[in-house]
Point group: none
Chain length 422, copies 2
Amino acid sequence: MENKKITAEIIAVGTEILLGNIVNTNAAYIAAKLPELGIACFYQSVVGDNAERLEGAIRQALSRSDVVILSGGLGPTEDDLTKETACKVAGSEMYCHEESKERLIAYFEKRGLTLTENNMKQVMMPKGGVVLTNNNGTAPGVIIPYENKHIVLLPGPPGELKPMFEESVVPYLKKLTPGVILSQTVKVCSVGESMAETMIADLIDAQDNPSIATYAKTGEVHIRVTAYAEDEARAEKLIKPVVWELKNRFGSNVYTTKEDVSLEAAVVELLKSGDLKLMTVESCTGGMVASRIVNVPGASEVFKCGLVTYSNKAKRKLAGVKKSTIEKYSAVSRETAYEMVKAPEVWPKADIVIGVTGYASPCEDETKTGLVYISCNACGKITVKEFRFSGNRQKVRESATAQALILARQCILEALSEKAFG
Amino acid sequence: MENKKITAEIIAVGTEILLGNIVNTNAAYIAAKLPELGIACFYQSVVGDNAERLEGAIRQALSRSDVVILSGGLGPTEDDLTKETACKVAGSEMYCHEESKERLIAYFEKRGLTLTENNMKQVMMPKGGVVLTNNNGTAPGVIIPYENKHIVLLPGPPGELKPMFEESVVPYLKKLTPGVILSQTVKVCSVGESMAETMIADLIDAQDNPSIATYAKTGEVHIRVTAYAEDEARAEKLIKPVVWELKNRFGSNVYTTKEDVSLEAAVVELLKSGDLKLMTVESCTGGMVASRIVNVPGASEVFKCGLVTYSNKAKRKLAGVKKSTIEKYSAVSRETAYEMVKAPEVWPKADIVIGVTGYASPCEDETKTGLVYISCNACGKITVKEFRFSGNRQKVRESATAQALILARQCILEALSEKAFG
């Protein structure tokens, strides 16, 4: 690629974001779209409804980026300053945009509302600007070309911003960019982030195009491979060998190479492929494992039921753990975890049973804090693993849930392979 | 209060935020905390894992704000540059912080993991910095005082950042601000945000000190009353009458006025007070209700067990729903919800049984998408409520979980009052 990459910058305008009343999801939305358009984004920022600071932010952004995308501050009130400030920076005069005015009048008439003087502020547009129709609200957007750069103004409500971006901004930006950016994610479990980076240090060091980045998730590492090329086919050709190499290095620990497949979805997929039914028996995770499974659409095909056996009595009465086992080894022990999945006393017998028992909260005996046993009965073969997690109650439970899914996946893979070759 | 207000600025570091892979919830979290500390925040920004741009961002922030709070980039990999860059800007030398090193070694030993050379990067600290212990991960935070300003470095994962901010950063920042800011939160359920705002519009209009802000949570509204005064006693005196008035207006819909009490903790508290035992029978929520209950320390005293009866067969075999009921009314119906809590066929009989059944994913029959029935059997008296939730699968399930806890709370309150007066 010869052309210099176009850069963009996102500025969210609004005191409610500065005060933390609203999470800045618009920035995440726009940011995720830009790489797909071959546009690099190095900065995001947030400023309040303050003319001086907003002007400073726009000038700084124009000094270092080709495209400046602003969201918010296009409303009818005095607080809404974005358009006026951008026009001041670009030196653009404003005029009444007749088409927008007609749309606004029609919008109010349809709803039986009275148009106030304020509202007319929304249809004043900079000369030379490209007006963006708002099909979901009253504030039109506008793109102001300025000295080979582009100032894009979008309304703040996500329900207005997103469709406007798709319908009007994407086609505009596509004309500015020479190539395409494609990325693919290799999702790895059972390997920590530093270990994963060590295993691919040579690839990371040698990276250029495609680039390689790792992201740590609870119990998982996601490795994203991103390529930039003239067209999609060429970008794919760049990505393919790197993804292949990653799959080669991490072997069966790669559970998917699809962006939208979660660990639990991969487990559900495996269960479906082997026509296996799942059951969960949870103590300290208290239903989290079942909940992640149920969050997969279509889980009902493979998920028989879940038991939350938080009390010792529930472990005995529902999961069939022997009283003597709990008395001899305690409720958090390898032996209890084993019996939790051995032969649950209730309907139904599932092919795969996952069990979790542990201490999520700080214990009197400090060495036991975060101690968790996870068990899996896969077609009669029982595996029990011991873990020590850190963090608060919630975090220990989330880590245990992730490891329970990982252990289940491993045991299902083994069971399937035995079924095929055994 | 005479003193000039201290200003802070938030910089999130991470290419994954710039790429839109992660929503910047850390910024919203920190931004919401600053006003409570009497600190003003005029800028938030995001930069990638790039030394040059990060350095520029830190320098700019220091030029206009007293406190610069950075999140992310404290990990063990080469990409993690925040600490090194901040030290460069502040001119601080680094040294190996022995206490952090010991903690790190213990962390790895406890898990039976091998410490790599990379990891030692995390325990290198700037001279003169205040090291912040990380109780939930491997990266300590640090505060670097620099020319009457303060650079605060925090780890990126919210599960590490939030407790560290509470435990270490809040006390540090409190010392910088002249007065005391105190706030108390009145947590309300069963009332929507706009309804809540309408009910207290006069209080909001008249607010000055204390200030009143509402925050919408799933199924709840939190109303925060914040006062600024010379000392704690004076601040408390300002807050008290407003909290009293809010409790008066929202009556029994106020489930707590304590910051750290969640809805599920309030339910567990109520159960304890009446010596009542709880059981859950969940379909579409798939264990989420049980999981929220189990997340309350000490829940074992009141939580007997949970059933995840996602399949129709599980509803019949485990929860005792009649086959004819499901055939006649479907699995998502008032009748099925009723039978799910009527007489679960398994041990044990609990005093309070919560049931949830619904459609979390888009249905062929569009009118049924988001339809959820929630039932509660409180000491023999069964209530069933119909809900229609919007959003994706996860969001519908979260809304249903919140409403299940709210219904349980109402039914327990009624049962307790009947016990007392009936």
